[in-house]
Amino acid sequence: MTIGVIKVARPRKMSFPESLYLVEIVKGLGVTMGHMLSNIVRQEGIKTIEYPEVRREMPPRFRGRHRLMKREDGTPRCVACYCCATACPAKCITIVAGESPDPGVEKYPVRFDIDMLRCVFCGMCVEACPCDAIRMDTGWFTPPDDTREKLIFTIDTLLEK
């Protein structure tokens, strides 16, 4: 059996002026300058925004930073069933369950951490939750931070929003 060979057309050799790249550089700079000048004279059409002070409107189904929902009395709605942690493909949810002071609730999360650096924003946790206790509808990206520890969001951070 012979091996199939594909003939690939080699790029044409550049001519001397082309190989200096000068013309292309000037053309590129022209585009940049054009945008700069038009931004100065026509501010309302500006393309960039001043993130994070200004934020883009996200589509309603955008999966952003998680939040934990609260009951009417302000306690977490989460009952620490571990369904989200079980469904999570990144294994980034850590829950420690405890006996709730409210006997009508019974079980509640003493600890609920999401490691945002490992989260792949797939939304499986939201799908899995039987109590609608976790949502990703904040319209936020994970804000940047300077240590790994700060990006492991605890229950307090997640309940804030």
Partner: protein
């Protein structure tokens, strides 16, 4: 032997067998709640309905005894409809607490709903009858009356096995409820079994409550270390943390039960463990490395024997060690150190409570093994203790965390009489607080081996997960010490040691891990 047909398959069973067991024999699972092989037949849940030819109505497979020529069908539409109906009835008032219910994942209702139910509820949420939830009814049990399906397994267990009869049904109809009498909590040593036999989440374990979801747990075969009965257990763990012990069925030992004390012995394997080897210098602990500590201990033992004579070296064995470890330790003491100062004691602090059922007075899993391997118990231990107290010992090797019934002060005072004490132990305790060198040992969950129960039944406990911290398998420690004392042992793992035991020790002659198998083997004579 009656011959019958189940779903077209022909099966021979002994006379008196019920349909449910005959079906099990050919791998047909008939759903059941109230039926439990170790309890009497109640026939009240109606989940096991099957069609039997010539019977006008469906029959309960758990209580119908087979007859020659019977034709049974478990897979007809009529049966399926009946079972779904029974399930729907049971779920009418069920709270469906699954997210907060510890039974979720191993629940009879969940499993059968997925298999036979999958129906939509026709009952309004507001109409459900509510009952008392989260009741601490004593022992190791939390009761949630709402989740109960009134199968009466618990009532029968407390009548037929413990004879204490604390749980009963109260009220009628929808309001039927399982409960204790007011002010009369569960009062027996076997309450933990109720959580195992309850097919739903009505009776759950107080100790395991909310600790872990069951689907995260992995299981390995082990033996309870709580007493010399040697109850077979399933050890449930996640990573290197043990979460619970459950009885593993063994008709020759513990049937399907275990005691409440034994059930909690797993905690010792999680808490207050010795994790790094250390030495004690002027009262302070100094972390040591295995590489230097093992030769050092071997050298100190040998030096003491050479200087003062072998009579000034002693070894104290532990009835918590496996047969394999005890065998190596005996050989180390008698052959390598050449000393006759070798003893152990089966006594422990406390009253040595026993009942005629499972709980034995001897609170160690392997006293019998130590005796059979020729390590002297009782008087020999007392003699060795008085010898140590009299300053007659220069170097001592101790296995175990405690010295029998001696208190922490007594242990400290005794060990202070010995210039060099090395310990191989699993947990912080009186001995680790006084020893000069501490060699941390893998726990029962972290190593394999065999124990000999009080009746001489040799049973295997299996390796569950790698040792925590820097702890080492005691067999490895013993082989390493032995070889530094010139033994030339090439044992690798407990299996090779057991082979040697079976070859030379009369009570174990001819045994092998294969012949011991899952359920153990009695020694001869």
């Amino acid at each position: 032997m009656p011959t019958l047909t189940i779903n077209g398959m022909i099966v021979d069973v002994p006379a008196g067998t019920t349909i449910i067991n005959a079906a099990e024999k050919i791998g047909i699972e008939i759903p059941r709640y109230c039926y439990h092989p170790k309890l009497s037949v109640a026939g009240n849940c109606r989940m096991c309905l099957v069609e039997v030819e010539k019977f006008p109505k469906l029959q309960t497979a758990c209580s119908t005894v087979v007859n020659d020529g019977m034709v049974v069908r478990t897979d007809t539409e009529k049966v399926r409809k009946a079972v779904t109906g029974v399930l729907e009835l049971m779920l009418i008032h069920h709270p469906i607490d699954c997210p907060i219910c510890d039974q979720a994942g191993e629940c009879g209702l969940q499993n059968y709903y997925m298999k036979f139910g999958l129906h939509k509820s026709r009952y309004d949420l507001e109409d459900k009858v509510h009952k008392k939830k989260v009741q601490d009814i004593g022992g190791q049990i939390v009761l949630d009356a709402e989740r109960c399906i009134l199968c009466s397994r618990c009532v029968r267990f407390l009548t037929e096995v413990t004879g204490t009869q604390e749980l009963h049904f109260f009220n009628r109809g929808d309001h039927s409820e399982i409960s204790i009498f007011p002010g009369r909590p569960l009062d027996n040593n076997y309450t933990g079994n109720l959580a195992d036999i309850c097919p739903v989440g009505a009776l759950t374990s107080k100790d395991f409550r909310f600790k872990c979801r069951v689907w995260f747990l992995k299981v390995f075969d082990s033996i309870c270390t709580g007493c010399s009965k040697g109850c077979n257990v399933d050890a449930h763990h996640k990573g290197d943390i043990l979460y619970r012990l459950k009885p593993r069925w063994n008709d020759a030992v513990n049937q399907a039960w275990m005691c409440d004390f034994g059930r909690l012995t797993y905690k010792e394997m999680n808490e207050a463990r010795l994790l790094t080897p250390f030495v004690r210098e002027e009262g302070a602990r100094k972390v040591a490395a295995w590489g230097s500590l093992l030769p050092d201990v071997a050298f100190r033992l040998k030096a003491a024997a050479e200087k003062g004579g072998t009579d000034r070296v002693a070894v104290i064995a532990s009835p918590q060690s496996s047969n394999e470890e005890l065998y190596l330790l005996r050989r180390l003491a008698t052959e390598r150190l050449g000393t006759s100062n070798l003893a152990f004691t089966h006594r422990v602090a406390g009253d040595g409570f026993a009942d005629g059922f499972l709980i034995q007075a001897d609170k160690n899993p392997n006293s019998r093994g130590a005796q059979l391997l020729g390590i002297p118990d009782g008087a020999a231990f007392d003699a060795l203790v008085s010898k140590i107290a009299g300053g007659g010992i220069d170097a001592l090797l101790v296995f175990g965390n405690v010295l029998g019934p001696l208190s922490e002060e007594e242990t400290a005072a005794l060990l202070a009489k010995v210039p060099f004490v090395a310990q191989v132990g699993t947990n912080e305790g009186p001995v680790s607080k006084a020893a000069n060198a501490v060699l941390p040992s893998a726990s029962v969950a972290e190593r394999g081996g065999t124990f000999t129960s009080h009746v001489g039944r040799v049973q295997r406990f299996r390796f569950g997960f790698p040792a925590r911290g820097k702890a080492k398998n005691p067999i490895e420690i013993l082989v390493s010490l032995g070889n530094r004392l010139g033994a030339g042992w090439d044992f690798a793992g407990e299996a090779s040691v057991f082979k040697a035991i079976a070859g030379t020790e009369a009570p174990f002659a001819g045994m092998s891990y294969d012949s011991i198998g899952m359920f153990g083997q009695e020694i001869k004579g």
